[in-house]
Structure formats: C-alpha cells, structure tokens
C-alpha cells in the first residue's frame, strides 16, 4: 500500500516539478492580442462558449448504464470456472436483458449522431 502512495507521490511531484520549472525558467511577456481566445489569427467572433448539442449528455447516460453492466461482468468472469454450468445459464439471461436494452436504445435512435 505504501508503494501505491509512493508512486502517486513520485509521479505527482514529477508533474508539478515540470510545470514549476517551466514557470520559473520560461519567459513572461504578454500583450492584449495574446490574451484573446484563439481564432486562427482573425479577431474572435464571440465571447462565450457555444451551447452544445444534448447528444453528449445522452452518451454519458448510456455510458453509465453500460459501464455498470460491465462491472457486473468482472466478478462473474472470475468465478466462471468454479460454478461451471450454472454460471453460464444465469449470465445468459443477464446478457439477453442487456441486449434488449441495447436494441431498444438503438431503435430509439440513441446512436444516430447526425441530427
């Protein structure tokens, strides 16, 4: 456990060190042009961040659902050998339910990205 902590510490401090080194050693000049958001060299067109399509939200919700399903797979896979015939039958129904949900999401158009 101490090793885990140590690794976090080493790599974390390495990253902080790199950034600090850059802060100290790098030059610091600024001008008003530099302080504007990047817009390919032309004057920038809008101040704020655009509103974004809600699609990203849907992806996140679907991810939550499926990722929890994946998490359920892992312990099952671990003891798959020990409870041989039973494990597969139980999980078969689980996969069927999962597939029903997957097909439903597909049919509902959750995976249509061009709208």
């Amino acid at each position: 456990m101490i090793e885990l902590f140590l690794v976090f510490l080493i790599f974390g401090s390495l990253g902080i060190l790199l950034i600090l080194m850059n802060k100290i050693l790098g030059p610091r000049k600024t001008n008003p042009k530099k302080e504007k958001p990047f817009e390919c060299g032309s004057p920038y067109l809008q101040d704020k961040v655009n509103t974004l399509p809600i699609k990203y939200y849907l992806v996140a919700v679907l991810f939550l659902l499926f990722d929890i399903e994946v998490v359920f797979f892992f312990p099952w896979a671990m003891i798959f050998r020990e409870m041989q015939p039973k494990a597969f039958i139980i999980m078969f129904f689980y996969i069927v339910i999962l597939l029903v949900g997957f097909v439903y999401a597909w049919k509902k158009g959750a995976f249509e990205w061009e709208r």
């Binding site: 885990l4 790599f11 790199l18 850059n22 499926f66 990722d67 994946v70 990205w113």
Partner: protein, 339 residues
C-alpha cells in the same frame, strides 16, 4: 524498486525516440548525432524554456491542474505492469513490477478512465469554443470506448481467472501440444482485436483523433503552451506505451518467451539449453520490451497510414460494432468453455 522505476523511465524514453522520423536528426551533443537520438531531449529542454502562458480569460487553477491530472494518471498506470519475473540476487528477490496489486487490471482500467478528467477540465478551463468542443468530443469518445475496452477484457478473465496481472502472465506460461505458447491471443482472438481498436481510440491517435483533429478544431490543448502542452503530449505517447503494455501482458504472454522455462530453453523437438537465472530474467525483460516496442510501432504505423474518421463514424464504430462484438465474444467464450 529503483530498477523498475528506471525501466519505466526507459520505456518513456523509448516512446519519444520511436516517433523520430528521418526529419529529426539535427540535434547533436558535441557534434555527435546518432540518427537524431538526442532530439527528444532537446525538445524537452526547449519546452522547459518556453513561456508558460496562462491566458487571462481562462480558469487559472483548473487550467494549471488539467495537464497534471492527465499526466499523473497515465504515469501511474505504467507502474502496475509486470516487466519480468522475480529476479533473485543472492538472498534478495526483487519483483520486476512496481505495484503488485491484486486487482491490477481494474486499477489500470480505473486510472486510464480517470485520465478523461484531464481532457475535460483542460477543454473547459481554457474557455475557448474550440477547446471545449475538443474536450467534450474527447470525453464522449473516451467513455464510449471504455465500455468496449472493459468488455473485451471480460473474456480474458474468464480464461485466466485472476485480476492480478503477474498471475495472468504466469498462467500464460504453458504450451499447447508443447509447441504453441499459451498466450491469450490464441484463446481470445476476437477479444484481442476489439481491445486493440478500443485502446487505440482511447489513446486519441489519428484514426480516432477527433478531440484533437488538427485541421478542424485544434483540440482541447489549444490554449496551452510550454511544458503544460508538453505534458498533454507526453500523456498521449505514454498512453500508447500503456496500451502496448496491457496488450502484451494480457494477450501476448507478457514477459513469457516461448519455450523458455525457469532453467532455460526446452525445445519442443527435445533439445534443452540450460541458462543461468540472470540470463533468463534478462531475456524475459528483453522479450517484454520487444513486444511492447512492436505494438508501439504498430500503432505509429496506424497513425501515419490512416485518415481521420468522421465523428459519427467513430461513435458508430464504438457503439454499433465493438460493443455487440464484445457481447458476442463473451457468449462464445462461455459456450466454448462450458463444453
């Protein structure tokens, strides 16, 4: 412990060297230029002396922490990968693995998925419309492929019932009929392919480089400069190494060399070649590095030979092809193992 730390460092150096093309051969130390081997070092030095620019319109604190997060979590992942078997020097035995955790596989998956926060925060904190599009795309792509990645690994756990990476490698030691090594790729060809593609999408490299597509949106690191940008880039290359390492460990036998047992080579045609313990361990580490190097090379090859996908194509590929393939893989593995 120190040895393995150094090995990690070596791996990272490898990544920097690997992307050298003929172009980068000017860097020299006292006039000596070994086909541009010093270029990565020169780049690093240059990056340190660049201006570390934090734009006034950005969210300062988050802007500074984002590269750190993204770097830290990928760097930690490397520590959990076994480089070789136990090395014995006299009385002491050193495990060639920094973090020997009993849930190493889940640890790696978790750390890889935490890396997405770096992208998202970086995109958000820069407060530029391009960066936030890049960040959101990155997050969406990351989480969609995360599922395929996790599911592809379920098959391998069914075959080798352990989450400990060094245990998995030890399981892959035997041979079929005394000839073919018992590597995961022979048990899980479909899982291996799915894992390769999902992992490549996770690294955000060119066929899937929507978050940083240079010619449309510049990406989530548009407003970064100096070493903070460098950390993002380093994360990218380290992700390649991590992916290659995981692929090697799980599907290509890790540090196992075909026909190499603890005492030396035992050839299927009957001959043996006795080797000392040190040589065997060295060969194993060397083999691991060669395999990782090969997969790095493969990914670089993909990166320079394929055009970028469209956004909807990437998402379709993840959701409509890889996930059904993963489920099919689990079902097939279950059926085969039940028989």
């Amino acid at each position: 412990m120190m040895l393995t730390l150094y090995l990690t460092w070596l791996e990272r150096k490898e990544s920097a060297v690997i992307q050298d093309r003929i172009g980068a051969n000017r860097a020299s130390i006292f006039g000596v230029r070994i086909i541009g081997l010093f270029q990565p070092i020169a780049d690093a030095i240059k990056m340190v002396f660049k201006e570390d620019f934090t734009p006034s319109f950005s969210k300062k604190f988050l802007h500074n922490t984002a590269p750190l997060i993204s770097f830290l979590f990928v760097a930690i992942t490397i520590a959990a990968i076994p480089f070789g078997d136990v090395l014995r020097i006299g009385r002491r035995s050193i495990r060639l693995q920094i973090l020997d955790i009993n849930v190493g596989l889940l640890f790696i998956l978790a750390m890889l998925s935490l890396g997405v926060y770096g992208i998202l925060i970086g995109g958000w904190a820069s407060n530029n419309k391009y960066t936030i599009i890049g960040g959101l795309r990155g997050a969406a792509q990351f989480i969609s492929y995360e599922i395929a990645l996790g599911m592809a690994l379920v098959g391998i756990i069914m075959v080798y019932p352990s989450l400990n990476l060094s245990d998995i490698v030890v399981y892959q030691g035997g041979h079929f009929f005394g000839v073919l090594p018992k590597w995961g790729v022979f048990f899980q060809p479909l899982g291996c392919i799915v894992f390769l593609f999902a992992a490549m999408a996770e690294t955000k490299r060119v066929p899937f480089d929507l978050p940083e597509g240079e010619s449309e949106i510049i990406g989530f690191f548009t407003e970064y400069s100096g070493l903070k940008w460098g950390l993002f880039m380093m994360t990218d290359f380290m992700e390649i190494i991590v992916v290659s390492c995981i692929l090697t460990t799980l599907f290509f036998g890790g540090w196992q060399v075909a026909w190499l047992a603890a005492e030396g080579f035992i050839f299927p045609w009957g001959g043996t070649w006795v080797l000392s313990h040190g040589v065997v361990v060295f060969l194993q580490v060397f083999a691991f590095n060669i395999k990782v190097f090969f997969f790095c090379w493969l990914q670089i090859l993909f990166r320079w030979t394929y055009p970028r996908f469209r956004y909807d194509q990437v998402m379709d590929f993840g959701w409509k092809l890889l996930i059904p393939l993963c489920i099919a893989n689990i079902v097939i593995t279950g059926i085969v193992m039940s028989i």
